[in-house]
Symmetry: none
Subunit: 193 residues, 2 copies
Amino acid sequence: MSGFDVGARLKQLRLKRGLSQRELAKRAGVTNSTISLVEQNSVSPSVSSLKKILDALPVSISEFFAGEEIAQEHIFYRASDLTEIGDGKLSWRLVGARRPNRSMSIIHEHYPPGADTGEDMLEHEGEEGGVIVSGTIELSVNGDSQLLTAGDAYYFDSRLPHRFRNVSDGDCVIVSANNPPSFADGGNHQHHG
Amino acid sequence: MSGFDVGARLKQLRLKRGLSQRELAKRAGVTNSTISLVEQNSVSPSVSSLKKILDALPVSISEFFAGEEIAQEHIFYRASDLTEIGDGKLSWRLVGARRPNRSMSIIHEHYPPGADTGEDMLEHEGEEGGVIVSGTIELSVNGDSQLLTAGDAYYFDSRLPHRFRNVSDGDCVIVSANNPPSFADGGNHQHHG
DNA sequence: ACTCCTTGTTGAACATCCTTGACAGTATGA
DNA sequence: TCATACTGTCAAGGATGTTCAACAAGGAGT
């Protein structure tokens, strides 16, 4: 029913890391039995268990399921089709979500007043750039902070520590692009409110 | 330590589709109670259950978890600093001009009524994507033509013949990205018309 | 052969998820 | 007001996931 071989995928990733079931289980905070059963598809793990396991690899859930995507090429995206992520404070709309075989990710971002990517500066591989469509945003990159308003833009190496914060009392809208699209790498930098 | 609000995310997507818990449950082959409990995070669904539910939306698992790991953007261009190119009809504003060592080009595009990239379809290496900020544009890619309006987006392989045309009587503004930067190497983009 | 450590697997007990079926709240209409 | 239909929630129990503890197989070194 799954259409996706969870067990094989997990085993593949585990072996790639050179871990035994017990070692992975220990790091993940589950038992070796769980790993065994999951790898044999004797059981469909709960999301929470799977998350624990993947965190120990580490692999993000979306990364784990990359490839589960329908291969159909999407060109046009209706506004309502953009994959919305965020928590009410920040709002990002991904064009085509994260298709693993695409070279960029395009994002329509909405920052309400007070929205903030967080005190822990973002740092990751790649480059990113964007244009402020409306409103005002405070962008800090590598210690330098600037207020950008409609029509302004930015571009930088994503390895520089950076942060976005809407310090105004109006919404801010940005269209940005990331290359490469994979946000995931060693570090575990996720942020939510 | 989930770090990701499965319940809120599911509810968000369900409401976006205008479905009730029962309706979604019916399509997914689970019960309304399951949806309810998952949305309240009273339970961490099994992967198989979650998959059934997401298939009914439909949303891929990796799409669902997009944002579970996030990183963002960056570096400072005043609106007046964007290098403007164009021929009076079309107007493109490049972020960071033609830096040869950048992996993308970010472009703020303005299409007045009648603006048209030309009858000779554009074709070049790379990929491009963008978000329509305001107005309406007719985008043709590989024989398929669509009218996109504010909030809509697109993404395609640039080798597919494509054309942008503003067939409305108002301005259209787009923020787009190219990879590799097609303007960095004096690509065949400009002129025509 | 043994001992010791490691590997992955499995049965029974336990914990969690999922369904059944009922409940309360809201809205519409007779 | 009652009836109907819809919404989301919840308790109980059956179904499924997870753990505990034991097991067999393989290697390394007595």
